[in-house]
Amino acid sequence: MQELIDRALDAAERGGASYADVRLVEREREELTVKNGALEAAASTRSAGFGVRVMVDGAWGFSASSLLERGEAERVARDAVDIARASRLALREAAVLDDTPPQSGSYRTPVAEDPFAVAMDEKLRLLLDADAGMARVAGVSVRESSFSAGRERKTFASSEGARVEQEIVETGAGLEAMAVNETEMQQRSYPQSGGQHVTGGFEAVRAMALPDHAERVAEEAVALLAAPQCPSGEMTLVLESSQVALQIHESCGHPTELDRVFGTEASYAGTSFLTTDKLGGFRYGSELVSIDADATAPGGLGTFGYDDEGVPAQRAPLVERGVLVGYLTSRETAPRIGRRSMGSARAWSWNRIPLIRMTNVNLRPGDAGSLDDLIADTRDGIYMATNKSWSIDDRRLNFQFGDQIGWLIRNGRLDRMVKNPTYTGITPRFWGGCDAICGESEWTLWGVPNCGKGEPGQVGHVAHGAAPARFRGVRVGVGRW
């Protein structure tokens, strides 16, 4: 494969590229889903290819192919150069990269138990045990338990002399129970909506102990059918940690992507209210709110050795004691705020260019103790858990989330269960109302394997560390029910 890479870089430079990089990627995935006691989906997928990104006179071009042949490497590189020349037809400002030194190195996800090496019988037994647990509860209409694993081997090389090799291994699992009646469809999931996903091995799946949680999840799904509707009004809101994670994702992760801030995602995902004039002075949240982008956090779905521009993984603060202090950046965007890339340029696969993506965007734990401590400290309010619905405006200000389940809090205790809980707000007002965050023992690094961005579309695998947190004065129970 070295020859393919060399030929592509040579062809790009001969064609007039002032900069070129090549990413050669091999991906494999395995997915198993047991539904209502039977294996509903079982797939082994493999994809390999390479992409060549070039800059000609400050204009970008990219071409990619699944044919791993030397001749194809030269053709694709020439195609990328031709495309870059076409980009010059509508170019106003030449792209400039930062001065990150070219890197050489390698990285492998630490794995205790290779998920691909675990016998399929064992994986299936675990899923079927979880299914049987849910089946013990009368009234559940659909039961699903699932496992997935991915392995990505990639080589990055650039005309600046960088050469990086990585092997990233991901593993995930989860279960979900659904119950329906004439007017309602209710669902409960474990460990979170869509399951938990990590970089690491099958040890993570064992630690989830899916069968141990199956019956409770199923019982809650059925109980929700008869639960009263979530009340409407302004209340104190306590969020379970995976919902805090999605709140971080939508209202901090995306608006701190510097490409959005500069308008280069405006045609699809939108822009950001966190414009660069706010850097260093804007009050994003309360003093308790500190958020970092940390691609070095062990086990996160946004954990790697180098990003897809060859920049080493880093930990960078985004919000410090409530104040905006940083952005997610790439080699092209960072110099525009006088910085060097903090390593957030990531590509979905061989056939996509790197875009600014979240890594592990984590809310630092607080000092509110356990979830039980936090509930006990809350006189009246509502507790919501496990995401069901999400939506936010194009500048990442007005959001609305729905959760699978809620409980009213009365005098420091969980009281009645309520169904269809929703809440809405404006990002800095919401985070400004954060007055308690649970401690380290409640902090979980939640994987989000379905983050969409870019044209053509890319699916990002990111994570968010979060603990349960409390927010004052939140509007809940949105809409006409």
């Binding site: 699903e144 007005n398 044209e455």
Partner: protein, 462 residues
């Protein structure tokens, strides 16, 4: 100028030999082989210049085997002999160890419907050069620049070839092309920017009028300057085609598929009224008035399926699996295996009415004009309650006229309830590409009551 790169996709004979080789290599009771070849290019622009410009070529072979009621699926994007043997072996190995699934039906047999060969394929689109896309981008940018607007967008062209063979004797193939140009124009990046939107989609790149797309968005953005804040509440609305297509897409996801109906999570109750009698919605992947995709990922030729006729829920779309369980035939709406979503409609049509589009706002004393919706998601699937934001052109209607632009609002609304209160439907219809897959042809509508539950903030301050 650059010339288009020679197509690198394998020819039809080569695809056929790959499919037959994979079938021959399988020892399972039932085997299905699906080839998907794509050549896609996209020129993206922002801040009035091209900033991303990409092309990709991929071929994908997927094998599904069913043996003793046990399922295995494997895929590869290599087409050499070793890779073909390997992918068949992997699918077979999974099936050997799988738990039997009594709900699995047989693979579909030979097609009883015929798809018009190459409907939806236009060679000019397949051969569209990066220069052609860049010129289109320039035309859009020029239209926005004339109004001092910041212009972003994308211009995509591509070819998709799908070929399917299975051990029940089905053989099907098709190739389609697509061209899509969209733009968002804003008067600034920060704060509550004025913005406008337009898009155009067609299998034929020569039917994409870049200047017209640019003019539509620029006009909308220019009229959006100086937005006022309007309080949330129920309003009579006009929904443009973009907004209608988005909510139709979501009805497709959560309610128009047979699996959603089977599992009791759809708002559809067949034979019962679910919308107003002036609403008819169907799916037709073979109609050239849309963006045709005439076969599904099981090789079944798509049937026209009347989903809602005169407001009555009449049918849902099927793949072979849901059809087997329902005792009917597949309508040709399978997604690639393994598929937990069930069948989905990807070529939706909504019937036009008799109102000139330009008259839709006329009877409204005080209401809202909505260009499009952003980041829509279901809040309650069974009642088809969706939430999302308005975007790129929301206007106050007073005494039949669009008087002021307003800040974007959040809606939380049951769509069947809203579509039970449609008081006028434009006679003009328009193709709108889906954000995900496929495209719809829909009219603009006037709705008697639509619930807005929030307003975005004017600035980022608390």
């Amino acid at each position: 100028m650059v010339t288009p790169v020679e197509p690198v996709a394998p020819g039809r004979d080569q695809v056929t030999s790959v499919l037959e080789a994979a079938l021959a290599a399988s020892r399972a009771e039932a085997t299905e082989v699906v080839y998907v070849g794509s050549d896609d290019a996209l020129t993206r622009f922002a801040n009035n210049q091209v900033h991303q410009n990409v092309r990709e070529h991929d071929t994908h072979l997927q094998v599904r085997v069913i043996d003793g009621g046990r399922l295995g699926v494997a895929s590869t994007n290599r087409l050499d002999e070793d890779a073909i043997r390997d992918v068949v072996a992997r699918a077979g190995a999974i099936a050997e160890r799988a738990a039997p699934n009594p709900k699995l039906g047989p693979l579909p047999g030979p097609n009883t419907r015929e798809a018009e060969r190459d409907v939806g394929y236009v060679s000019a689109t397949a051969e569209a050069s990066p220069d052609r896309r860049a010129e289109g981008a320039r035309a859009v940018i020029a239209a926005g620049a004339a109004e001092n607007l910041i212009v972003s967008g994308s211009y995509a062209t591509g070819t998709l070839a799908v070929a399917v063979a299975n051990s029940s004797g089905l053989r099907a193939e098709h190739r389609t092309t697509h061209a899509r140009l969209l733009t968002v124009m804003m008067d600034r990046l920060g704060g509550d920017a004025a913005s406008g939107y337009a898009n155009a989609a067609s299998p034929d790149v020569s039917r994409i009028d870049a200047a017209a797309v640019g003019a539509e968005a620029a006009d909308k953005a220019a009229r959006s300057r100086g937005a006022i804040e309007l309080e949330a509440g129920d309003y009579e609305v006009v929904l443009e085609e973009y907004a209608v297509a988005t909510v139709l897409d979501y009805l497709g996801f959560i309610g128009f598929g047979a699996l959603a109906l089977e599992e009791g999570r759809s708002f559809m109750e067949l034979g019962r009224r679910v919308m107003g009698e002036n609403v008819s919605i169907w799916d037709d992947g073979t109609d050239p008035a849309g963006v045709p995709t005439p076969i599904d990922f099981e090789g079944v030729v798509k049937a026209r399926v009347d989903l809602v006729r005169g407001g009555i829920a009449t049918a849902v779309v099927h793949d072979s699996s849901t059809a087997h369980r329902a005792g009917t035939a597949s309508t040709g709406h399978a997604l690639p295996a393994p598929n937990l979503w069930g069948p989905l409609p990807t070529n939706l049509f909504m019937a036009g009415g008799d109102a000139p589009r330009s008259d839709l706002a006329a009877p409204i004393e005080r209401g809202l004009w909505v260009t499009r919706f952003h980041y829509v998601n279901p809040v309650h699937a069974k009642r088809a309650i969706l939430t999302g934001m308005t975007k790129d052109g929301t206007f106050l209607i007073e005494n039949g006229r669009l008087t002021r632009p307003v800040l974007n609002l959040r809606f939380t609304q049951s769509i069947p309830e809203a579509f039970s209160e449609i008081t006028a439907i434009s006679r003009e219809t328009r193709i709108v590409p889906s954000e995900y897959f496929g495209a719809s042809r829909v009219p603009a509508v006037r709705v008697g009551r639509f619930s807005f539950t929030g307003v975005t903030a004017r600035e980022g301050s608390g």
